[in-house]
Symmetry: D2
Subunit: 358 residues, 4 copies
């Protein structure tokens, strides 16, 4: 259970880090959408390991194949099946941790839950699983684009290095111009240097990915449990290493008075708008037509190159020593994943909103 | 859509603030559970308006009735239907805002989504809806108790007043001893005074509810989308006025290094435990047997007694003037709601965990 | 689990035969639909016991109340909660069978599944549960009517008495003119006499309800598992006492050759139509615009007034003696239930069909 | 929507007849189950075209690959992803019907629903889709075997040739000994000759597949909508060409009196059993421990080698001429499909039954 996401634009994923392959089924993509394979490839490229000196040097090919649901370049309305075959399955890399629980990984909990686990590269708990999300998210983005909705994430914090500008003060078009994916070039450089230092110290560090969704019409979202913000929160918290989610004013909002926080309404042409947007584009769980924005907190990557105390399956004390090729900070590669999950939520709610009208 | 929550321990709710009544169906409560109506009543009492000088003076009777699913004091395994009839339906109170959009309320978005809305007291978007959640959550708590799991929430921040102690440093048994539900008596007094001042200034303020779940066995949670933390996050973000959720190290965790943040494993008797608990009791989306803890951020209540700029349905500029009986700060009454939603998530995942084994 | 039906027009029901009350939540009714309470009342009247000499003489008031989701006579898009309070709860009637398993009832299987059961009147397994379905189905019918779709069921067989006319050869408007709900007056009389004889012999008999849905646009249905015919089949098989379902040519179709059975296409104006309709209006799980028609087989009612061999909870041999007020044949009262379930399926698929388009 | 089946043992499928490949994800298979690939291969062999003179001579390789969820020969509890690549994609065969609606096929309805369709071999509506079901069903069968449950289907009718023996009077072990899969050798021969004649006349004919499930413990099934019989019915009606479903006494049961039809209880050792089994092993939607048995009606295959009247997408009258390699009767190849769907339902309900207990 738990390997599907969405209601009307629904994805189901499978695959382990070092199995034969991964994949995703998209069930509910409307027929007639032009499917741009080059765009999907580009999105996967953004998530791919080995992009730069601050990401893992591991090589994964991430070459996907669409097996169904697309005919003569367009979606047919039937399930879109995609597979990504694993080519770099160095299982031997993992022999040394086969029966050890790596601290703050999912080794222990998978063992407890299933009584068995594919220890190679974390198996299903590996972030490699997110490649299938990004492939599906690319198609969700195409659907959103058709309806004039865009989604853009960027890195806003690494360790203590925090961008003190709001997304309106930034030029988000610059996000992809540097390897950390921070739209402020100066801060980007600081972050890159910092991560490089962390990497050299064989350690890792956390960070925050911020995200903005523009062009969302008013009226998307389903009270009361499936609020748009609740589903966005779940989507983000389902990404590996995420520890927190906030939208609009978020945790800072708790310090404000109602008189400051409330977003006054006014009319712009025939559109009702708000003077401020502490609501983050969502009121009562439903979009109000303003920009949706949120932050996603990522903990430091659990795999470090420093020896750590742990136990093995037998319960004996052991030392876990990091090996292999890992990310010193997950946020640059998390940017496309956050976008993918956000796009999937919006695509789903967009379709739902079309149904429940007379 | 969106009025059900959970998979195997599933609730579906209905009801508006000023309609004839509200209610909930619990589908999936195992048979044979002793149902303690006095406990349900007590839980609802904790959420009820009019409890103290820092909550709304509005009176709602919140008297529930169990219509089905319980026979001779025990659950039968069939759906438990509960209704809460509305007795205090002062619809006339709301005539003055019938066609106005109250800032940062759901008036505008409901109108956009549905083209129609029950404007009386916010209709379905009113926090009155949470009474049904608390009733259902009380039954989830009984199920958890049967399995040795307890859940306890408390107020840890109001405006800038922040409790700087972790939950281990507090005596959570003191939580219910003051009207703000803060387990630190000194801080509680400060918070109460502060809220009272805010109330007198006809304004409102936000706050944070923290929550701890103890006794959770290792192995609960469903990767990859339905991680225990993701579902807890969704549950909390589905509560009115919530703007953020973090668990374990949360947003602070982004500043840490992997070497600090990782929770080393050791053995205590035959139990695998962690020396620290930055993971918040959840690794890879699955419980690891340590305490689960999280924070929930609430924005200031949108209804203030101060005049505000807005528009009406016709798009004309109007002034919205707060009237009636409202909470200056939502957190004391949110404590039982956070617990209820947490209990519902845990009850659901507990049942799921029993199914997927040979 | 299992007490909800539908995806976008979803109902959840609760309630036992002799509990305090039953009810239903409709989640997904589009906003703005005029809700005609008199029509709901009339539908429930059709299902109600005590209508005629060939139905049980038991009196159930079936008085429903809409608690939410309707404002000023129109649906608001929020859940419609309805309750039906039980007034005639003669629990004492059932003391004699409290620990006995009535043959071909659900007493034994509920006991096995739940380890506990509300033995009064069959508890949740009682056909009284269908009153909530009929209430919800009445609202589904209003939605269908809005889109020009009508649904009409009738009795086509009782015991060996089988109507040898197709629905096109009958005047279905006559269905409600007799107490058996057979649109052929002559056959109706025979059936009534036959049931009356069966009743006098303290026995029961089965029958078939046929149903026609007109005005369904082409394109409703979801391949591959959720075919329109599969969901209709499930809906019908979820009704108490149903043993079989067939649509279009049904079981007779197995004897035909492809050359006879295939429905040739032709054009009528700008509409594509079929010369015959062995497909029953559904091809590949999707409606083709022709009439949908199907048959539902009901077994004889299990409660008979004749002594029967059985066992009790302790496993001892016992005699079960029928008591109380029961139906000699379920089909006349099943007609509105078949319509209700059919309407719920169609309403759901209608909404779904609106979502999955660009 | 509609491409997933099951709740806790859930499958999602994708793939078209002539696309690159098909596949299935099984989400919910408990960890630790030994996965016998040879058994899966054998099951797929039973469904495969080209088996005998009475099935289509088309060759499909049906070679599957397990991409995930199995480690060292055992299920890991994570999703089992399987793909079946298409090797025999003779798209050119279908050029002649690219814009024509084949009578009683899904061409017209897919076009109406989606506005686009993959016309090659029926695309998604092709029975080729069932290969993924059979692969998944094989794993469900392994799970059932682990719990002592077996499922066996056979052909009981072809055209008018009807086996007049109940399953108890037959030796079901003989089912696979002839190419029609009828356990009565004499009748099998008649059926084979009959189908061969039909084939020579370039026509097709329908038939009935019967199925028996043994070893089901009492207590499986979920009232009220998700009755075991309702879900079995839906499962069967979701198979291509199925027009009807009946279980236990089925349509014949409507002619019986309650006094004949009721299954008297008695005790055999410490097991409660029934003297007769008109209930078909299911009472009140829950299994009672007796054999479950049901019939599934298949219409004649729509593709015939005889010219037929139809229209094309433009609405012009056209003649459709059958070409290619098709089955004269679907039932021999439907036997493993019926078993697969039955196994999927039982596996799902078995897991559900383990969850909802204290």
């Amino acid at each position: 259970m738990g390997n599907s996401f969405g209601k009307l634009f629904k994805i189901s994923t499978f695959g382990e880090s070092h199995g034969k392959g991964l994949g995703v089924i998209i069930d509910g993509c409307p027929a007639g959408l032009e499917i741009d394979e080059a765009f999907i490839r580009n999105e996967m490229q953004r998530r791919k390991p080995g992009q730069s000196k601050i990401t893992t040097q591991r090589k994964e090919e991430d070459e996907f194949q669409i097996l169904s649901g697309v005919f003569e370049g367009k979606s047919t309305g039937t399930p879109i099946g995609m597979v990504i075959m694993n080519t770099d399955q160095k299982s031997k890399d993992y022999g040394h941790i086969a029966d050890k629980y790596r601290p703050s990984h999912a080794d222990f909990t998978y063992q407890e839950k299933y009584g068995i686990r594919d220890y190679r590269g974390g198996g299903r708990s590996s972030a490699r699983e997110t490649s299938a999300r990004v492939a599906a998210g690319a198609i969700a983005k195409m659907l959103l684009k058709h309806f004039g909705i865009s989604i853009q994430a960027y890195v806003s914090q690494v360790g203590d290095l925090k961008l003190d500008k709001s997304y309106q003060e930034l030029n988000l078009d610059q996000t992809e111009e540097n390897i950390i994916r921070c739209p402020d070039p100066e801060m980007a450089e600081k972050m890159i240097d910092f991560i490089d230092d962390v990497r050299k110290s064989r350690d890792t560090v956390g960070g925050i990915v911020s995200c903005v969704i523009k062009g969302v019409p008013a009226g998307l979202g389903e009270p009361v449990f499936d609020r748009l913000n609740a589903e966005l929160g779940k989507a983000m918290l389902s990404i590996n290493a995420v520890k927190g989610f906030e939208y609009g004013s978020g945790f800072e909002g708790v310090k404000m008075r109602g008189s400051e926080h409330n977003d006054a309404f006014y009319t712009e042409g025939d559109k009702v708008r708000t003077r401020t947007n502490h609501s983050g584009g969502i009121q009562g769980g439903i979009s109000n037509g303003e920009d949706i924005y949120f932050n996603v907190a990522f903990k430091p990557v659990a795999t470090i190159m420093i020896d750590q105390e742990s136990v093995n399956e037998a319960g004996d004390s052991v030392t876990v020593s990091g090996k292999g090729r890992h990310d010193p900070c997950v946020v640059p590669r998390a940017v496309p994943i956050v976008e993918a999950m956000g796009a999937l939520v919006l695509a789903d709610y967009l379709l739902i909103s079309r149904a429940n009208k007379l």
